[in-house]
Amino acid sequence: MTSRNSTRRWIRLLALLLGLSMFAAACGDDDDGGEGATPDDGAETETEDGVDSTPEDAEGDPVMGGELTYALEAETNGGFCLPEAQLAIAGMQVATTVYDTLTKPDADGEIQPYLAESVEPNEDFTQWTITVPEGVTFHDGSPLDAQVVANNLDAYRGAYEGRNPALFVFVFQNIESVEVVDPMTVQVNMVTPWTAFDWFLWSSNRVGILAQAQLDDTETCGTNIIGTGPFQLENWTVNEEFVATKFADYWLTDEDGNQLPYLDSITYVPIPEIASRGNALESGQVDVLHTSDTEQIAQRLQGLADSDEIKLLATDAYGEVNYLMLNQSQAPFDNKNARLALAHALDRQLLIDVRGGGIGQVADGPFAEDVTGYVEDPGYPQYDVELARQFAQAYEDETGQPLEFSYTFVSTESGQLTAQEIQTQLADAGITINLDPAGDQATTINNALAGDFQAVGWRNHPGADPDTQYNWWATGSPVNFGRIDDPELQRLLDEGRQAPPGEEREGIYQDLTRRFAEEVHNVWTSTTVWAIAAEPNVQNLLGYGPQGGSGAFPGLGTGHDVTGIWISE
């Protein structure tokens, strides 16, 4: 069985962050067997053990019913018309509550069919066949079939009347056509071989399947949410609450045949400031919160977890990387010396210590440790003030301008403090940086889209397959915000996309990581740690994972399943 393996891996990832004491606590109990969808699945139990000194509490039979309130870091103002939506993690979390994706990764980071019965490529990966099961219905009672799936895929790739996706057009531009083969089977034809297409059907929970009625809703597609997900929208008051109630006809049951989900309802409340979110949890106003603010995790949540007041799950597994994204289409970062100077000037461990409460690791490349393409030492420029000065001087000699740039960031309190720290560090190397608070996340993204920045604080590239990052770096892609124009990088991206799984593919992506380091296309800083903190009685936070898989996906940077959550007395 794979579950023992996956459990170990899971523990290791957790231990990275939660410290050895928890590691030890978790070790005692890794022999739970079982298939993916079992309440006492290994991965999950360990998770709870990781922070809960009495593992028995996490066991026992799931309790049906109950209402859960979940504090999110942001409201998804743009709505949930997924083909057109811009979902950050808070949006992904809500999306996975009301929609299902055709595929989903499991505890080992393998992609598995989820809403689909099967997702199979042909031999050369130019054609993928998706089969959906019979008997699944949307919240409005309409059935899931091949036609609606095909319409969804067309909507995502910009080939469906009435839907105008922005980003997914480019993500799916390698699709040549989508055909309905029989009532339950869809065939997707590719322009070039596409090895990791099944990963794109998940796309960090962004590619949920919408009911026909929502797809065709030109006016209120964003709020008229109809999915197949475990919960259905009851009422959404923007900025206040998103209430979703149990979908009685949900297609999943647990191992004992109990109808999922367990909860009667789940209510998401957006509380942008982490401090307020922590308050809400501490005072019992909410049951769960998520955060990537490692300072709060280290200084506050960890303490509460240590005293058993809450349970805490924190990981950077399959997570995003934090970095300074540089605009290479203009000065100063079209010049490699400027990029090198910046990279050498940053003491990233200090940045993690000061701003991240010491949690998280220095990142030298875009991929998390368990992702294909990760290289331990890709040759990324390390902290060296002297070298930084030299490169800055070289830049000045070449251009006649001193190295100075503006740094754009999301103007939250935390964003400001990080900007200040970077400013302080660069001052040591004689590099001047002007702070440019950009507003909220969406505005910052818009600035990046428009190329209206020099350097911007960024966080991206979660997930488990490197090909899913293709569009972020491909030459000419509109979401290649940094305007990277590197033929070698492009070659690697294209080769990687078409290469069959195996060592060769791995090698390609490792080269890609090294290429990034050599050219300093981005200034990587640290891995992003995501944490979920919950009241102690909230159980099975991550759910069961896809049916045929090895358990729940441990990554928290893409939202997590809520189907299996239950509340004990």
Binding site: A275, Q296, S406, Q420, E421, Q423, T424, P437, A438
Partner: protein
């Protein structure tokens, strides 16, 4: 905060008293009778000393024996002990920088913004107020209505709006943003400063000596500047003191909303020290928020007090509004 808004100031006769106002009696028409002999008193001197200190911090922060702003103290960082140590009476922020030096250097931005803003408001508003009060009639109607329009938008809302609109340029530099904030606060303070000036001008413009000057054929600008202005000046001065106090608080409010002075490490402001210290406070490191708040508190208190003293002294009639 009541003093954020002009409205509470302008029709609040009670604001004309110091804390020891019980020592005097106000006659029914609102003019002060007994307080003309009012002296500064020890509290007044304390206020002046404090403001002098603030002025020094704003203009010559180098005088103060505090570390530089980018200087970091690794010991505090390593032990995560940010409490006071020898040489660091207020301790450190959570990045290991000396807190006192942040407060000292933060004075400049706060004071520059608020003093400049009020100066701007006073020059523009004061000029129009003098003109309206002196000439009366149609000019007065027009100007007063313009003031009323300005007053119809709550000052903070107006300042936020202006700051948001004019800082929309994504690559605005630090200086430009400071300018925007200053202008936003200054513009928003024009109507109230103008109205107070007008009200006081009204009471002086028909006095005998003004009439006399008119009769002897002095030119109007000369009369306004030589005869009216000196008499209106105390009122303008007292309201300017209150205005600066208000502006300091507004600057903090703007910082909290994210349209204030950029939280540049080399030039903090009290407002953004409060705004960027909130989560630290919840982590038990309340020093930055508390000390910056105290700076605001003492400064506002001093300005309010002195504003009251000036008003009591010069018999400023704000009930004329």
């Amino acid at each position: 905060m009541p003093e954020v808004e002009p409205t509470s100031v302008k029709i609040d006769p009670a604001a004309g008293e110091g804390p020891d106002a019980a020592l005097r009696h106000d006659d029914p028409d609102g003019t002060v009778t007994l307080s003309k002999t009012k002296r500064l008193g020890p509290i007044g001197w304390l206020a002046i000393i404090w403001l002098g200190l603030v002025a020094l911090m704003a203009f010559v922060p180098q005088l103060f024996p505090v570390p530089g702003l980018t200087e970091r103290f690794p010991d505090a960082l390593r032990d995560r002990d940010f409490g006071p140590t020898a040489g660091h009476p207020l301790g450190f922020d959570t990045s290991g920088r000396d807190l006192l030096s942040k407060l000292v250097y933060g004075t400049r931005a706060s004071m520059i913004v608020s003093v400049l803003a009020v100066t701007f408001g006073l020059i523009v508003g004061g000029t129009f107020g003098l003109i309206a009060g002196y000439f009366r009639g149609k000019i007065d109607t027009v100007i007063t209505n313009a003031f009323n329009v300005g007053l119809a938008i709550p000052q903070l809302v107006l300042a936020i709006t202006l700051a948001a609109v004019f800082a929309s340029d994504a690559n605005a530099g630090y200086g430009q943003r400071v300018l925007v904030v200053t202008f936003a606060i200054g513009f928003a303070s024009i109507p109230i400063l103008g109205r107070i000036t007008r009200a006081n001008t009204l009471t002086w413009a028909n006095r005998e000596f003004v009439m006399a000057a008119k009769t002897v054929g002095a030119r109007t600008p000369r009369i306004i500047i030589r005869e009216v202005l000196p008499n209106v000046a105390p009122a303008m001065f007292s309201i300017a003191l209150l205005g600066i106090a208000i502006a300091i608080v507004v600057e903090g409010g703007l910082a909290l909303i994210g349209v204030g002075i950029p939280a540049d490490i080399t030039s903090p402001s009290w407002g953004n020290l409060i705004a960027t210290g909130r989560s630290q406070m919840l982590l038990g490191e309340a020093a930055q928020v508390m000390t910056a708040s105290l700076m605001v508190f003492f400064t506002v208190l001093s300005l309010n007090y002195l504003g009251d003293v000036v008003r009591a002294r010069f018999d400023v009639r704000d009930s004329a509004l």
